[in-house]
Symmetry: C2
Subunit: 124 residues, 2 copies
Amino acid sequence: MTTADPAGSSRDLPHPVREEIRLESVLHALSDPMRLRIVRELAAVGDELSCSHFDLPVTKSTTTHHFRVLRESGVIRQVYRGTAKMNALRGADLDALFPGFLDSVLAAIERQGERLGEPRRPAG
Amino acid sequence: MTTADPAGSSRDLPHPVREEIRLESVLHALSDPMRLRIVRELAAVGDELSCSHFDLPVTKSTTTHHFRVLRESGVIRQVYRGTAKMNALRGADLDALFPGFLDSVLAAIERQGERLGEPRRPAG
DNA sequence: GTCAAACTACGAGAGATGTCGAACAATCCT
DNA sequence: AGGATTGTTCGACATCTCTCGTAGTTTGAC
């Protein structure tokens, strides 16, 4: 499609609405190290980040896969912005459904990171 | 083995010590509906429960599998008591490692249960 | 229109996972 | 010892998951 589109970005991505988000899916989405790392970084920055911002030790197609799992489970929201795809935590939705859950997971990641000598990333 | 054993129960089960428990593994263990159900019930009762107490819609071998995943990830502690195998949440360990995490998950399960019309189990 | 950048889609492969059924093992009770 | 209860082990199978590489699409810039 090359036709103009009314509202800004042409490509729309399927997201579960708040009520459709399932705890099991969220837990599963968070149970992968790569995805946990993504979520951790999104929370630390507290803002949208493009996919390319993340320097994961996997290929781009694998990265795409992980972001999709996070989106389809309802953990993040993705929107296209030019050629970039921006990602943001769905903090409000998750907190409305599962109060305190996301925060405790984020705290747990940090804690565990500190506990196991944080293999710090090469400064970018 | 039929020889007497000094400390009570003969068969010993491998458990991760507190420091070995990984968040990813716990999240994965909790991401299955059957296992979430088990954990929910253990928390509700607040005490040890035998495997046979649970009336899961799967075979015994599958049940064994789920309990093992929960034990190996550090979510529950299992001990033999006669022919029965007793299961208890490792609440203290989890709370020491990931403060508030378990409680928020338990609350989330309950909440989601209520939210989606609780297909209540046939009274046992 | 062309080119580079950022992602996606598709196909494939290795490995994990959830499930079952049948046979086995440990413990308790009589 | 014999039988009942509880849970395990093993092999099998279908499915899912994570990963990659290559080829393709969409967008922005020149």
